[in-house]
Subunit: 300 residues, 2 copies
Amino acid sequence: MSLDGARAMFQQLALIGCGLMGGSFALALKRAGLVGRVVGYSRSPASSQRALELGVIDAQAVSAEQAVAGADIVLIAVPVAATESTLASIRGQVTSDMLVMDVGSTKGDVVQAAERALGERIGSFVPAHPITGKEVAGVEHADAELYQGRHVILTPLATTQAAQLQSAREAWAAVGGKLVHMAPDAHDTTFAAVSHLPHLLAFAMVQGIAAQPGGEKILALGGPGFRDFTRIAAADPTMWRDIFLANKTELLAQLRWHQQALQAMEQSILHDDGPTLERQIAQASSIRARWRMASITQDD
Amino acid sequence: MSLDGARAMFQQLALIGCGLMGGSFALALKRAGLVGRVVGYSRSPASSQRALELGVIDAQAVSAEQAVAGADIVLIAVPVAATESTLASIRGQVTSDMLVMDVGSTKGDVVQAAERALGERIGSFVPAHPITGKEVAGVEHADAELYQGRHVILTPLATTQAAQLQSAREAWAAVGGKLVHMAPDAHDTTFAAVSHLPHLLAFAMVQGIAAQPGGEKILALGGPGFRDFTRIAAADPTMWRDIFLANKTELLAQLRWHQQALQAMEQSILHDDGPTLERQIAQASSIRARWRMASITQDD
């Protein structure tokens, strides 16, 4: 896509939160030729300054409200817990033909927050969750390829305007995303299962070993299996604190499913019941061996 | 290392169990020029036939006993549960200057099995556990690089002969292993923590999702975090059944440590205690971010 002879799809992107996720979106949208100008705001001026230096944004705003004024597309890429206050702060600038999106890892709480914060402007909001990330944060790790081949979940509401939904789909498709529509609660159940619970277990795994006498020596002998199993345990503490609290009900429900399966295997081990244990493992093993990440990307 | 002008360190390797682990050892030892001839035996004749065709072994034996006759180095690379019967079957051929090793993932049970099976020949036995593997089994996946840069744990006994221990060290070093000596029980605690428990949790994770209504749809949306966390869930069912049962006490003790850490995080979530939850996650995150697999290899 090129700007030659054609107007960019969007005149101005307001990027609220100039970090890894937001910065990568801005870079990718620019590279696709879909946006004329990017105005960024970060709660920390150092972050938006860095984004400006790196060419991720073209101008710094002094507030979220100022960034949004005159924009036709807004991406809120702040911690989940800050979504509502951010939306409330820009409400006066949101117009009926503006597209507003987030990138939060939970959706039920975001939808409720948006309904409270945006009021009659809720039709401009398309809740989004791109399934990607890195173990490193910050705009210096922003990467125009971050969304390439990744699922992007949209959870539109009954009130979401069709034009905004269509623009959202086009924007995410242009940065390489594979679009999936889900209801907010189905989203939260799904990601409690495949993302939030694995993170919780990985954090607990590292803590459980470190708490033991000789824990450091034990950790030192972890091999490739341990490395991969615990990779996500290095993730950002405030982000994951917010996700766990925001999606508490679904997360704890998923923990119960997990513990039920675990207890059944524990019983087989306790009673030296080899045939049942083998059947349980074989079931998991054959499911996992057949599983493929839907989006084939270079790091598969 | 070369055979030119020098005798190979070993005249004949008896490989009992021509699979991934054993086949890789034979290939690596051959490539290092350390062995003259490899005689293989597998319970399944198709496996040793395939090993012969692939040049992993030079001759097929009709029994483990026949393979060991005349060998100066023996590698038992069979499922952990078959170790004792294998050792018992070769006892009559084990000499006082022969080196006999296993590659089992547990060591306490193997040491006990070896003491029962080998009797007065126990001094020839050096229990070994190379920390490596693949999610695929079989000699067709044998790889001379499998042990390159990997930890190899030796758990020698008071009765282990010094000459055999030295030969074992030289053989594993020649195939690229980084040697570590441990007591059998310290080994079993360590690997219950960094390997066996992660496998158990990964199996239970896949099972817990698959057991739910809509489980297949949920699994389909797993991303890179889920992929890496559950990679080990595709592992071999009979191998892991045997490991879990052989190391039952240590595995269940490690499960308790894990559940203690998990319950503490669960309480923070239940009570919306953000500060405590963040502290718990931050502790795990900083430990995991600093953690490095001791052996730096190409896939790090």
